[in-house]
Assembly symmetry: C2
Homo-oligomer: 170 residues x 2
DNA sequence: TAAGATTGATCCCTCAATCTTG
DNA sequence: CAAGATTGAGGGATCAATCTTA
């Protein structure tokens, strides 16, 4: 205990930069999370829902959801279990590959999302984007985009390439 | 299923900005996390260890760790349980307030951290800071700092104000 | 053999309730 | 009563193993 240690390596600017990055999202998540945590939806649930809403025919394969969200396939399985149990999404067997499932947004899922998004947008504005000038925000987003592409190429993976029909599910 | 929905509210730039923020940290965490995950240290464990290392006398109160890290006091209790079990930190009863504990870094904890940090710094450099030009990084950090201060004032809380002795623990 | 999905075990965190001390 | 810390219950994520299909 109580070793006298050179604090230099612990104050490396790259380390503090990472610390800042984590503290910031943690804080933003904490502030904005209440919006969907109240109606019993987790952050991952919301992430999946909005990705479905933005996809053609409101559907994606489980695998594509996994790679887009950087979650394990196991994790996605459980998210969809929850959403299906809540009636917000549903699995549809893939016509061209019998190993695979598409996940589609239900009407109720769409309604819930539509109800939720304005509040969330306001909250994000309140706690994140409005804290910066347009120039500052632009600088931040440019940096983020570049880092994101560096650590996670394929963030937009599976936007309907192989299996999923380019036709409505039903 | 398959409602035709206006995708406009779902593509609100503030929402995509938040999505980008989350994707980025998630990606960076995933890339750099192996450095400490391998020797069986979680992200929160590391966060606590390095905060201790940076504090005077390598010690902080549980409560202060909680507010600095934005974790619940319960969460901090369990982190310290793990670190104590691993011999990397130890509780010391607070002399001036018998409800409170200081947590101090052990010699072994200091060694482990010293061993870990260079690898981590290299990994952060590899996956985060080196992806940007100095100007871009500067813009990113400026924005982050501003948002962080907005959502989480008191990030530096408890840097020895009340209880903790301004003297060595032992 | 590999890809898509699921299951069981386990880890980490939070909330609510509780105990002790100020 | 308020503050510091701990405990039990429960949610959410991962890994490794497994099953089915390509």
């Amino acid at each position: 205990m109580l070793v006298r240690m050179p604090s230099e390596p612990f104050d490396d600017p790259r380390l503090t930069a990472m610390g800042l990055l984590f503290e910031t999202v943690h804080g933003v998540g904490h502030r904005c999370g209440d919006v969907f945590r109240v109606p019993g939806i987790s952050g991952s649930d919301f992430d999946v829902l909005i990705r479905l809403a933005r996809s053609p025919y409101h559907s994606l394969r489980l695998t594509d959801l996994a790679s887009q969200t950087s979650m394990s396939t196991s994790g996605i399985t459980r998210v969809i279990d929850r959403l299906e149990r809540a009636g917000l999404a549903e699995r549809v067997a893939c016509a061209t590959d019998r190993r695979s499932f598409l996940v589609g947004l239900t009407d109720e899922g769409g309604r819930r999302l539509t109800k939720l998004v304005p509040d969330l947008t306001a909250s994000v504005d309140r706690w994140f984007t409005s804290a910066l000038s347009p120039e500052e925000l632009d600088g931040l987003l440019t940096g983020l985009r570049k880092v994101r592409d560096h650590v996670h190429p394929g963030a937009t993976a599976g936007a309907h390439d192989g299996c999923p029909a380019d036709e409505p599910l039903l």
